[in-house]
């Protein structure tokens, strides 16, 4: 029996086209002849696959038909949306992807920022802000002038000397000798061409720096203006014993055109990175407070405000007043400065202390 005949037989058998007699014969043939049986089985399977393929193809056709019909009805979206619909579609499709991307972006930027800040913290030798106000409010200054004039209407005759120039920085200083020596920070007067000091009343005097030490950040100014009258009875002194942690302190300064009081406490006996020439104090200060005296409750000046840590709140550094002695030692010969020795603040309440003090705290300006 050749292949063609067998194929035909299998096909007719599958389709039920054989007569009963023929069927019996065919089945017997397969039973007695394993080789033919195997071939017939192969044929049968193959024809079966062809049949199924035919069915699937027909079925796919009807699927496509239905799909097209529904697409025409608009139930199945035919194509990707266009224009605005496309944007909406893309949004709904990529919403999650976008969310994930945004999340990752956020994570990356936060971690980058963290790494950068960690790194820069190590590198930053001093993230500190000198407390000189370089953004001066001239308007406020003029207002104050007018105010003082109005208050002292009777004293118009002795119009205080007012050097006419525009200052571009402002800080604080205080008298250490009634003949016109003022202590402030070196960074205040460094690079200044003209220096002016101004007292609480608004009297301005030219001054010049007679001592500037960038290492200790101390400077001593001498009022050079002839209109300056020697003052006496400086109320404060400098401490003889060491200052203790937790001691209450206060300061007066010019973070504004007006004198401002602030109080706090001694936080550490050393400054940034263990700098033993400074104290760390906790106090609220602003640009303009530089050079202000740090005074304890007995009216002793324990330090001079110099800077604050930029990234931390209320971490302020003050130069120990001991450094003033050293500065005076360096100066000796050229200038004769006599530090005040009588303390008239001790035992007074704070308001009285301030009233006595404020005349000796000067605004230091210049350009």
């Amino acid at each position: 029996m050749n292949d063609t005949l067998l194929l035909d037989a299998v096909e007719r058998y599958r389709n039920g086209e054989m007569s009963p007699q023929e069927t019996i014969l065919f089945e017997e043939l397969r039973k007695n002849n394993p080789e033919i049986d195997q071939l017939a089985a192969d044929h049968n399977f193959f024809l079966g696959e062809l049949d199924k393929l035919s069915e699937i193809k027909a079925y796919r056709n009807s699927l496509n038909e239905v799909e097209n019909k529904l697409a025409n009805e608009g139930m199945i979206s035919e194509n990707k949306g266009k224009g605005k619909a496309n944007v909406v579609y893309m949004w709904s499709r990529y919403r999650r992807t976008i969310a994930v991307a945004a999340f990752i972006a956020g994570l990356v930027s936060i971690s980058t920022a963290t790494i950068v800040s960690m790194y820069s913290e190590k590198k930053n030798v001093a993230v500190i802000t000198p407390l000189v106000d370089t953004k001066l409010n001239q308007f406020e200054h003029k207002l104050k002038q007018i105010e003082t004039k109005l208050n002292d209407a009777s004293a118009v005759a002795k119009e205080p000397s007012k050097p006419k120039f525009e200052a571009n920085f402002r800080a604080t200083g205080f008298l250490v000798d009634g003949s016109g020596y003022i202590v402030t920070n070196a960074h205040v007067v460094n690079n200044a061409r003209n220096i002016i000091v101004e007292n609480k009343k608004g009297d301005q005097f030219f001054a010049k720096a007679v001592y500037v030490n960038k290492i200790t950040d101390l400077a001593i100014l001498k009022i050079s203006d002839t209109s300056f009258k020697k003052v006496t009875n400086l109320p404060y002194t400098f401490p003889k014993s060491s200052t203790e942690l937790g001691e209450h302190i206060f300061t007066l300064g010019y973070p504004r055109e007006e004198i401002v009081y602030g109080e706090g406490y001694l936080s550490a006996k050393s400054g940034l990175f263990g700098d033993t020439t400074s104290y760390q104090i906790s106090i609220s200060v602003n640009p303009g407070n530089s050079g202000g005296p740090v005074i304890n409750k007995n009216g002793e000046i324990i330090g001079i405000i110099s800077s604050k840590e930029t990234n931390a709140d209320g971490v302020v550094f003050a130069i120990k007043s001991k450094n003033i002695y050293n500065a005076l030692k360096d100066l000796k010969g050229d200038e004769s400065i006599k530090l005040p020795s009588v303390n008239s603040l001790k035992g007074l309440d704070r308001v009285q202390q301030i009233q006595k003090l404020e005349d000796f705290v000067y605004m230091v300006k210049g350009n």
Partner: protein, 188 residues
């Protein structure tokens, strides 16, 4: 008619390729599948593809005499589509956002596996058909796929009688079978 009876009728219609049954199932289920696929990183075109494939899986099942649907058609289709879509995302190493439609699913792994086997066979068969050349291809397709009668084919292909056409058809079939089984045995 209870839901069960309705669905049984639908499946019987599907098995005999009744367009009405196909359409009903399409109408009732397509939207859900598209929502699932679009929410999970797919296009509507993907949804059409996947749904068609799931419909074929259902068709193959419905044609089996032993087949009894143990859940609703909806659940079955969702399970199949979900499985197929996950597989496709995996193959294209695309990200699966994991948006579920809060529907129960039934295990469909076996069906999908046998469906894939079947699809592979079909592909082999079609490939073999492409290789045997004309007129064999057209004759075989006309008879076995389009189910045309032998006399019709004889006329269409210009054979003097149906027997000649039949002989030619068997010759072609033997060649096709050879090519197919060569590949089929390779694949096993």
């Amino acid at each position: 008619m209870s839901i069960y009876e309705q669905e049984k009728a639908l499946l019987e219609g599907l098995a005999t390729n009744e367009t009405n049954a196909v359409e009903t199932i399409y109408r009732e289920n397509y939207g859900m599948i598209q929502a699932f696929i679009v929410k999970n990183n797919g296009y509507p075109e993907d949804a059409r593809d996947i749904f068609q494939e799931a419909m074929i899986v259902l068709f193959e099942k419905a044609k089996l005499n032993s087949f009894v649907l143990r859940c609703q058609i909806k659940t079955y289709l969702y399970s199949v589509c979900r499985r197929l879509w996950l597989k496709r995302l995996q193959q294209q190493s695309r990200y699966f956002p994991g948006v579920e439609l809060l529907k129960e699913t039934v295990p469909v792994e076996n069906e999908i596996e046998s469906h894939e086997k079947q699809t592979a066979n079909f592909n082999m068969l079609e490939e073999a058909l492409g290789k045997i050349g004309e007129p064999c291809k057209s004759i075989l397709e006309a008879y076995y796929i389009q189910k045309k009668s032998m006399p019709d084919i004889a006329t269409a292909f210009g054979y003097t009688n149906a027997d000649n056409a039949k002989t030619q058809k068997y010759k072609c079939l033997i060649r096709l079978k050879k090519i197919f089984f060569a590949q089929y045995k390779n694949g096993e």
